[in-house]
């Protein structure tokens, strides 16, 4: 808005503050809960101001065995598992989609569009729909309780392939022809021209896919039985049910806080490229 109306400014600020509060309050409560000891967290009302146990909770959660008297792995281990899974899923998805989009856009082969549509209709088959047969396949391949089992079934991505196809279609044909005259082989063209030109799109997709991988819940829950392979997102739910006594909120909330950090880090570090990737049209 260009015009300056005080009342309008006040109202819009109120609405914005309300919105921010609505989103930030649960995170604040999580943070506050992670700074108190176990006893305080069991009294009503729940505290709204931070306490003094942050570092104790932090140390116990990250390096200790987490909840006492349970079989849940230490949180650093689960963070590592989640990180490995999210990275394998996002990098795997990006490499496979880049290559398949390259094949579909730049090569003429029989049933090219057929393959494209085959890839495209897998959009209709997310993990939840094909969960039983996928589990069967992964189990038969002996990939239960492994990083491969966690990531490979989630790697094939129609969305990313489709997106890269659209990106490649915006690159003028002359670019390819020019590279051909310069003597670049197809893979050389792929590495030297296509990848650098899709850099921002790759970054944008990486952010989305990393968070997608990080937040996986159902699939890891299904195929990991070994406590050492637990991912952080599924562990929070397990912690709630694990102990005989009442839940240790301080530890659980600290775990939740720790689980939020890597996605936030990825978003912030990729933010500039992410925005460019979603908005730029100039090739």
């Amino acid at each position: 808005m260009v015009e300056n109306r005080p009342l309008l400014s006040v109202i819009s600020h109120l609405i914005l503050i309300f919105g921010v509060a609505l989103i930030a309050l649960p995170i604040w409560i999580t943070f506050v809960a992670a700074t108190h000891d176990e006893a305080r967290m069991l009294q009503a009302p729940i505290p709204m101001l931070p306490g003094g146990y942050f570092w104790e909770n932090f140390k116990q959660t990250l390096f200790g065995s987490g909840l006492s008297g349970t079989e849940i792995a230490p949180v650093w281990r689960m963070l590592g598992n989640s990180l490995a899974m999210a990275l394998m899923i996002s990098l795997g998805k990006i490499s496979i989609s880049l290559i398949s989009a390259f094949a579909i856009v730049y090569f003429k082969f029989p049933f090219r569009m057929g393959f494209f549509w085959l890839i495209f209709i897998t959009l209709m088959l997310p993990v939840e729909v094909r969960i039983m047969p996928t589990f069967q396949v992964v189990a038969n391949l002996g990939m239960l309780n492994s990083y491969w089992g966690l990531s490979i079934p989630l790697i094939a991505s129609a969305t990313a392939t489709f997106m890269f196809r659209q990106v490649f279609l915006t690159i003028p044909d002359e670019m390819l022809e020019s590279a051909r005259i310069d003597g670049a082989s197809p893979m050389r063209f792929f590495w030297d021209i296509l990848i650098p030109l899709s850099r921002t799109n790759i970054a944008a997709l990486f952010v989305i896919l990393f968070i997608y991988g990080w937040n996986q819940y159902l699939w890891p829950l299904l195929i990991t039985t070994d406590a050492d392979m637990t991912t952080i997102v599924m562990s929070i739910k397990q912690m709630l049910e694990a102990s005989e006594q009442s839940p240790q909120w301080n530890i659980i909330m600290m775990t939740a806080l720790l689980a939020m950090i890597p996605p936030i880090f990825v978003v912030i570090s990729m933010q500039k490229l992410f925005v460019q990737g979603l908005t730029e049209t100039d090739k």
Binding site: E174, M175, R180, A184
Partner: protein
């Protein structure tokens, strides 16, 4: 340095033949312009020489080697594209060096050649910049630099100036011409702009609907156009065409006027006369009813109809002239500047 030989070159897309038996020899160091209206197949022909389009039948030879089945990279050609096709993520220097890098030219050799080309084109100070930081004219130079660096046998230009503004186009046109003369590299240049074609080419190949209408020097095209199409395409404003009946040493126009000619013709003919060859003359044989004047300063274009007919006539008279609208002004054709074409085949009667 190389000659190019096109022999009965044909291109079809499925059942549609878009180029029909194109033949022509291009001499070593010659600058040939392929010109024609859009859709005539001129770009396709160039792309076939480049190796970006397959050849349906016929042969292309560069040097003495048949190149039909040879990859573009191995034909020893360089091409300048209409939209420049610079790699946006590479600096100007990297853009120019890319082809050499792929060919595994030694590093210091690459640097030397890039600098040399940059000096020729006066773009040395831009070597570190990205293409998007350059203006249209500068990008054009970089695209040419990329071609020069490779030191190819043949330059191919695909309407390289059509994205530039009019003034820059004239300037770059001269530079391309000078550069080509200096380097002496055989060149093929595609354009739809007949002025560009006339000024640049040693010879022009006029294409129309996939056929070669005429392949000759600019002056020959102007003075002895082989067909009505060439006559109408070359020269601005376009030639006037008048339907007439042939005779011995004269042709008779529809309004009864007889024009003298050195030829003996018969039947329906088309008489062509360029606007600049119509001379204002009170005794002239062509009465023109003036409809509109276009004042260009150096000359005035008189638009009108041949009195008593519907035939449009344009005459170009020198200087600023204010002729009364709707009056009849008489013109006479300059001697020996009358072109006669067969009305049916549209070919020149010589």
């Amino acid at each position: 340095m190389a000659t190019i030989k096109l022999d009965q070159l044909t291109k079809s897309y499925g059942p549609d033949e878009v180029l029909h038996h194109i033949s022509g020899d291009i001499n070593d160091g010659e600058f040939v312009v392929i010109v024609g209206p859009s859709g005539c197949g001129k770009s396709t022909l160039l792309r076939m020489v480049a190796g970006l389009e397959t050849v349906t039948s016929g042969e292309i030879s560069i040097g003495d080697k048949m190149v039909n089945e040879i990859e573009p990279a191995d034909r020893d050609i360089a091409m300048v594209f209409q939209n420049y096709a610079l790699y946006p993520h590479m600096s100007v220097g990297e853009n120019m060096a890319y082809g050499l890098k792929i060919r595994k030219t030694p590093k210091d050799e690459i640097t030397r050649r890039v600098n040399e080309a940059a000096d020729i084109l006066e773009i040395r100070e831009y070597l570190g910049r990205k293409p998007r930081q350059l203006s249209g004219g500068q990008r054009q130079r970089v695209a040419m630099g990329r071609a020069i660096v490779r030191d190819p046998k043949v330059f191919l230009f695909d309407e390289p100036l059509s994205n530039l503004d009019a003034k820059l186009r004239v300037q770059m046109r001269l530079e391309i011409r000078k550069l080509q003369k200096r380097l002496g590299v055989t060149s093929i240049y595609v354009t739809h702009d007949q002025v560009e074609a006339m000024t640049l080419g040693d010879r022009l190949m006029v294409l129309n609907g996939g056929y070669v209408e005429q392949f000759d020097t600019p002056i020959e095209l102007y003075e002895r156009p082989a067909s009505i199409f060439v006559a109408g395409f070359i020269g601005s404003p376009a030639m006037n065409f008048l339907t007439a009946t042939g005779g011995d040493g004269l042709v008779v126009l529809d309004n009864g006027t007889a024009l003298a000619t050195s030829l003996k013709t018969s039947g329906a003919v088309i008489a062509g006369i360029r606007p600049e060859h119509l001379i204002q003359d009170p005794e002239g044989v062509l009465p023109v009813r003036v409809e509109m004047l276009e004042q260009l300063g150096a000359n005035t274009l008189v638009h009108g109809v041949l009195d008593g007919t519907d035939t449009q006539i344009v005459a170009s008279v020198t200087g600023i002239q204010s002729l009364p609208i709707n009056d009849v002004v008489r013109f006479s054709p300059a001697p020996d500047e009358l072109h006669l074409f067969d009305a049916k085949t549209e070919k020149r009667l010589s």
